[in-house]
């Protein structure tokens, strides 16, 4: 099982490398969105600093939502998903490995780039650290719950927007606690309360997400 997990993750990563720039695109999208905000909102540095965490988190959410439809859709269209379902591998392992690969390819790069964007918005160093931490804890939630959303909207036309509609509300707590952690650092409050709430949310979603995704996949392929 561990072996199956490992080789499916490896395959996903290899596929992503082949589709050159897939990873890069999500990243650049993230950066573009984060850079759009000051354009629309206006350039006062104080105001920008206050909204930095929110903007980074919202951009991360949107980048995740944009990348999610691909999670199962390609495998569904060409029959690979069907093959996975009839294979001896437990479906849970398949879902978990796909969600992990999704995080490695989107969540992790986003988290690692976020401090750079924070710099642009003139965040102090300790807030940058907290931003990174909040993203490292929070982004796996996006992949886990997102995989359930992606499975639910599989084969549904206009799935992209529907998926956004399904998962964005679920992501709201992540956004609130994630951005909250950074903002509280800015005004001198210890962010650990926010971060541990995020951690709890991660624990819950790692139980619920993959299970829901498995069930939804079986329905989609009936």
């Amino acid at each position: 099982m561990l072996q199956a997990y490992a080789f499916i993750v490896r395959r996903e990563l290899r596929l992503a490398l082949r589709r050159k720039g897939d990873v890069l695109n999500v990243l650049v999208f993230f950066i573009v969105v984060a850079s759009l905000f000051p354009l629309g909102v206006g350039p006062e540095p104080g105001q920008l600093r206050a909204m930095a965490a929110g903007v980074v988190w919202i951009a991360a959410l949107l980048a995740a939502v944009l990348s999610l439809p691909r999670l199962f859709a390609a495998d569904h269209a060409d029959g690979t998903l069907e093959q996975m379902l009839v294979s001896p591998q437990p479906l849970l392992v398949i879902v978990l490995s796909k969600a992990s690969a999704h995080w490695l390819l989107t969540g992790l790069p986003l988290a690692l780039t976020a401090p750079l964007i924070g710099l642009q918005y003139d965040l102090p160093t300790d807030a940058l650290g907290v931003l990174l931490a909040s993203l490292l804890i929070g982004t796996p939630v996006l992949s886990l719950l997102g995989s359930a959303g992606a499975a639910l909207t599989l084969g549904v036309h206009g799935g992209g927007a529907l998926l956004g509609l399904l998962v964005l509300p679920l992501f709201v707590p992540v956004l609130v606690f994630g951005a909250g952690a950074v903002t509280s650092t800015l005004i001198g409050i210890n962010p650990s309360a926010h971060l541990s709430l995020l951690g709890a949310f991660l624990a819950v979603s790692s139980l619920i997400g993959p299970w829901a995704a498995c069930a939804a996949l079986r329905v989609a392929l009936d």
Binding site: R14, D78, Q89
Partner: protein, 203 residues
């Protein structure tokens, strides 16, 4: 080994077939015939456990089909399950891996050789023609001698005569070694089998 009891399937509230009982023993070939839309694909997907029957059940070695069954079964549907971005040999490697088959480098090449596409081994599948893609999907058969039950939905469509001969030879060898094959096809391809039967869907 594989048997159905009073199997019935519905699509969109319409009975496609009902009260279907088939039994397949080692070495048995079952051809599923029928007009377009008569329910052949639905039957095969039900046998594979992908679609839930409306009534009746599918049994394997006397048990309702479940996790163990999937180790002993190979299902190839209409969709080729070939990834555009990966080369032909990578595709075969992955699909065999996921079915817990042996995937030594040499075996992969032999399998491709067997389908006559070893020349394309390192070409990304994106560039394959319709028939080459189908061959790439079918190459798994050459690795699956140890898997008792093969469920093949229209394996011969899009293939040229040479490829049809190769695939039917593979099926014949599998049957001779005690395997089982269920296939649908609109063409009447001769396959040597000791115990060959056919069912006609909807009369």
């Amino acid at each position: 080994m594989l048997e159905t009891t009073a199997l019935a399937c519905e699509r969109g509230g319409m009975r496609l077939f009902s009260d279907l009982g088939v039994a397949l023993q080692a070495g048995g070939l079952l051809r599923v015939r029928g007009n377009n839309g008569s329910g052949k694909t639905t039957l095969l997907r039900t046998l594979a456990g992908l679609t839930r029957p409306a009534a009746g059940s599918v049994r394997w070695r006397g048990e309702p089909i479940g996790d163990d069954f999937r180790r002993e079964m190979l299902f190839l549907g209409h969709a080729a399950a070939v990834k555009d971005e990966m080369t032909v040999s990578e595709n075969l490697e992955f699909s065999s891996r996921i079915s817990c088959l042996d995937v030594a480098e040499s075996k992969i090449r032999d399998a491709l050789e067997c389908l006559g596409i070893v020349r394309l081994a390192d070409l990304p599948a994106r560039y394959l023609s319709q028939g080459q893609r189908k061959r790439a999907a079918l190459a798994r058969l050459a690795l699956s001698a140890s898997v008792p039950l093969w469920l093949l939905d229209e394996p011969f469509s899009a293939l040229d005569d040479e490829a049809i001969a190769r695939v039917s030879a593979l099926c014949a060898a599998h049957l001779a070694a005690g395997g089982m094959v269920v296939l649908t096809s609109h063409q009447d391809i001769p396959i040597a089998a000791a115990d060959a039967r056919a069912i006609e869907m909807r009369g």
